[in-house]
């Protein structure tokens, strides 16, 4: 009888041990992390993983891709041994500079965006944007507006066809020595697309990444290769009226949230980067028409499957007239937009409301 009792205990133990082997295939849960090191803004992600190890691998991939493009698309800093946009601005005037496949791909994409947005989003606009950047960064007491003559002169050096790309030999040359590249209008979108790609390639099915509010999601929440779910990734539309004295009292009826599952949502807003002078607001999105920031809108948000395209569009739409902007959006497949005017009016493109959640 005692032997039977002993065997029973052993059998019971045998039932408990396998359980610890199963500890490795854990339950799916959401992990998040945030960073201040990339693109001069706050970036974050949320990923569904079944263990801390999976989360750590995800974070590693995110960090290395984000850092890669942060350095590659930087126009203010150069890095030893790396040819980035800043180095091109220094060296490519008249001379052929060798670039990596990644940088070439970016420049090719940027050229396409310039065409699609009819020149409103143009990475060759750096000569003009740098004048505004300096004005914005000047100290509070010495705020000034860029000189009109300087702006007009700089505008003569913004022709993107002066950016010569040799895709076979991977070289870049500026045929205009005073041209400067500024990737700010599409940089975050492009990086977000590349980061999402790397993460999907590594096998992650359910995640949301955000680079300074430039949001990309993949899969439904909690989805894995085996198990499909239908819980959507949601993003909110920020209320821009809260940021300015002259709009604070406007009450906006914004949609509660937007379903961005497998999509990207990018917002350009005057409230993100601006300075005030003599009671007027000067934000960071400069129109190629007026060479000044346009003040038709408080914000424009664009949803689509390519974050690069959405980023490019949101910048362009900000400077365009509402009617021209609507035409551009309606004529582009898979892209929808929402405009918030300075008067507090909300305008949707035809298909935008199919994404909203009340």
């Amino acid at each position: 009888m005692a032997k039977k009792g002993l065997v029973s205990i052993l059998v019971v133990m045998g039932m408990i041990l396998p359980v610890f082997c199963f500890s490795s295939c854990g339950v799916l849960r959401a992990y998040s992390s945030g960073y201040f090191d990339y693109f001069d803004t706050y970036s974050s992600f949320t990923v569904y993983a079944s263990s801390k190890e999976e989360f750590n691998s995800f974070a590693e991939i995110f960090e290395s891709e984000a850092e890669k493009y942060h350095k590659l698309l930087n126009i203010y800093e150069k890095y030893d041994g790396l040819v980035n946009l800043a180095s091109l601005n220094d060296q490519a005037a008249g001379e052929k500079v060798e670039v990596s496949r990644e940088l070439m791909d970016f420049l090719l994409e940027a050229k396409k965006i310039e065409e699609t947005t009819h020149g409103y989003t143009n990475i060759a606009f750096g000569a003009v944007t740098s004048l505004w950047h300096e004005a914005r960064e000047s100290s509070e007491e010495e705020k000034y507006l860029p000189n009109d003559n300087e702006l007009n002169e700089a505008a003569k050096h913004t022709d993107i066809s002066c950016l010569v790309l040799d895709t076979d030999n991977l070289t870049v040359r500026f045929t205009d020595c005073d041209m400067k590249l500024d990737g700010g209008a599409i940089g975050k979108g492009y990086a977000a697309d590349r980061i999402a790609e790397a993460l999907s390639d590594a096998g992650y099915h359910s995640f949301l990444i955000s680079l300074g509010g430039n949001v990309v999601s993949r899969g439904h929440k909690g989805e894995t290769e085996r198990k499909k779910t239908d819980e959507p990734w949601l993003s909110g539309i920020e209320d821009p009226t809260a940021y300015f004295e002259h709009t604070k009292d406007i009450s906006l009826a914004l949609p509660k949230s937007v379903d961005i599952t497998d999509m990207s949502l990018v917002t350009s807003g005057s409230y993100q980067r601006y300075f005030e002078l003599d009671g007027k607001i000067y934000h960071h999105i400069i129109s190629p028409d007026s060479l000044y920031p346009e003040n038709n809108f408080l914000s424009v948000s664009v949803i689509g499957s390519s974050s690069t395209l959405c980023d490019g569009f949101s910048t362009a739409l900000f400077s365009m007239d509402l009617s021209d902007g609507k035409e551009l959006v309606e004529s582009t497949v898979g892209v929808e937009a929402i405009w918030i005017t300075v008067g507090g009016e909300i305008i949707f493109s035809e298909g935008f409301e199919s994404y909203t959640v009340s």
Binding site: K4, V11, G14, M15, I16, P18, F20, V27, S51, K52
Partner: protein
């Protein structure tokens, strides 16, 4: 009904086999029951009827083996790796506790079933904490104790009634 001789191994195997199959049916019913609780994979513990009955009739060893076999087979057929883990933990703790509790004076199969049900859920909760890496799940303990007690009550009463059935007594030579 012809009297069966439980000393015969073939008779024992036949009876255990049937019991295992019955346990798997209960296991399937368990699998169909929707969980009112937010933890994915946790089971109700109704299948405990068979281990409890076997425990009373034939002892701890057969009960343990049948339990293990039915959990693994059920898990392969209609569970997933996570639910197997939960069932193993719940089944193991429940069986051990039931073996010990039976010795209390005045307790019937019903009482053993109640405690077994509670132990079953506690076992699952412990594993859930390990798997999800989150101690906060332990807050479900009160709810799981009550649910386990209720399920265990049902299990215990059914087992109790079964044990008093004349035919069962013939099968087990009691």
């Amino acid at each position: 009904m012809k009297k069966m001789n439980m000393r015969s191994a073939s008779h024992r195997v036949a009876v255990y086999g049937i019991m295992t199959a019955v346990a798997m049916v209960f296991g399937y019913i368990e699998h169909l029951l929707p969980l009112p609780i937010g933890i994915y994979g946790i089971k109700a513990g109704l299948a405990n009827i068979v281990p409890l009955t076997i425990l009373e009739l034939f002892g701890a060893f057969p009960a343990a083996v049948i339990n293990l076999v039915r959990i693994v087979l059920s898990g392969i057929l209609f569970g997933n790796t996570v639910s197997i883990a939960y069932s193993l933990a719940g089944g193991a703790l429940s069986l051990v506790v039931m073996m010990l509790i039976r010795r209390i004076r005045g307790i019937t199969a019903t009482g053993v079933g109640i405690v077994g049900g509670v132990a079953h859920n506690i076992g699952q909760l412990i594993i859930a904490v390990f798997l999800t890496d989150e101690i906060r799940i332990a807050f479900y303990l009160p709810v799981l104790i009550i649910a386990g007690a209720i399920a265990g009550l049902l299990v215990g009463v059914i087992a109790s009634m079964t044990l008093q059935n004349k035919n069962i007594k013939k099968i087990s030579n009691i």
